[in-house]
Amino acid sequence: MDALAATLKIASSGLNAQSSRLRVVSQNLANTQSTGTTAGAEPYTRKLINFKSFLDRSVGVDVVKVDKVTRDDAPFRLVHEPGHPAADVDGYVKYPNVNVLVEMADMREANRTYEANLQVMKQANSMIATTLDLLRNT
């Protein structure tokens, strides 16, 4: 495969990985208040996305792919709300272990990396365009 075509493929794998990351972030953000419904039930658990470098044999370079989405083992937030349906015998409700600030930072990072990959695509495209320009009658 031509190196520039490979570049486009790698960049698209990067775009793909970062958009999956953004999907996980939005899932976490949407569920910041998702508690259980029965007494002492577990709330939503924060999800973590893992990336893996992977050698694509048809391209011969490292592309990136989503390895797996795992659960965050951090402890849940306990809030004293005796009237809540999910409250345990002591009146504590388990809230998800999602920190909005961390999610925001993660979102920004995903955004930056997405932009970087997009820039790679633009540059590779312009290189292909200049090469094709050679064919134009001058």
Binding site: A6, T7, I10, S13, G14, A17, D62, N117, Q119, S126
Partner: protein, 125 residues
């Protein structure tokens, strides 16, 4: 005046630049992969000077020949920052390399174009 191997030189240069671009793209795509070591290519001069045997590509699944062995995988942690996750990609540095390769490619192509125009004007008379 000796012969000028300009066309060959330019196409070699552009091939090298394309390989560099794809290696940079790989680094940027893996900017958030834990344990990924940033890669680069060997300098163009070194590519020109080396004499090597090339591996034949007899099947689609074989790794790319041509500019094979150009990728320099030696980890350069000394001049860059290594993240806690073991990732040594610096996004700024990669973007810089990206722009540089693109600019050099445009330069080489323009040189080729003007040389081609000169050649054409000689043949047309």
């Amino acid at each position: 005046m000796g012969p000028v191997h300009l066309f060959e030189l330019v196409s070699q240069r552009n091939e090298w630049l394309s390989v560099r671009q794809s290696v940079t793209a790989g680094n940027i795509a893996n900017a958030n992969t834990p344990g990924f070591k940033s890669k680069d290519v060997i300098p163009f001069e070194a590519v020109l000077n080396r004499a090597h045997l090339e591996q034949a590509m007899t099947q689609r699944g074989h790794l790319r020949a041509g500019m094979s062995g150009v990728v320099d995988t030696s980890a350069k942690a000394a001049d860059g920052l290594v993240h806690h996750s073991g990732n040594s990609v610096s996004l700024e540095k990669e973007m810089l390399k990206l722009g540089e390769a693109s600019r050099d490619h445009r330069l080489a192509t323009s040189v080729l174009k003007s040389f081609h125009r000169m050649l054409l004007s000689t043949t047309r008379g």
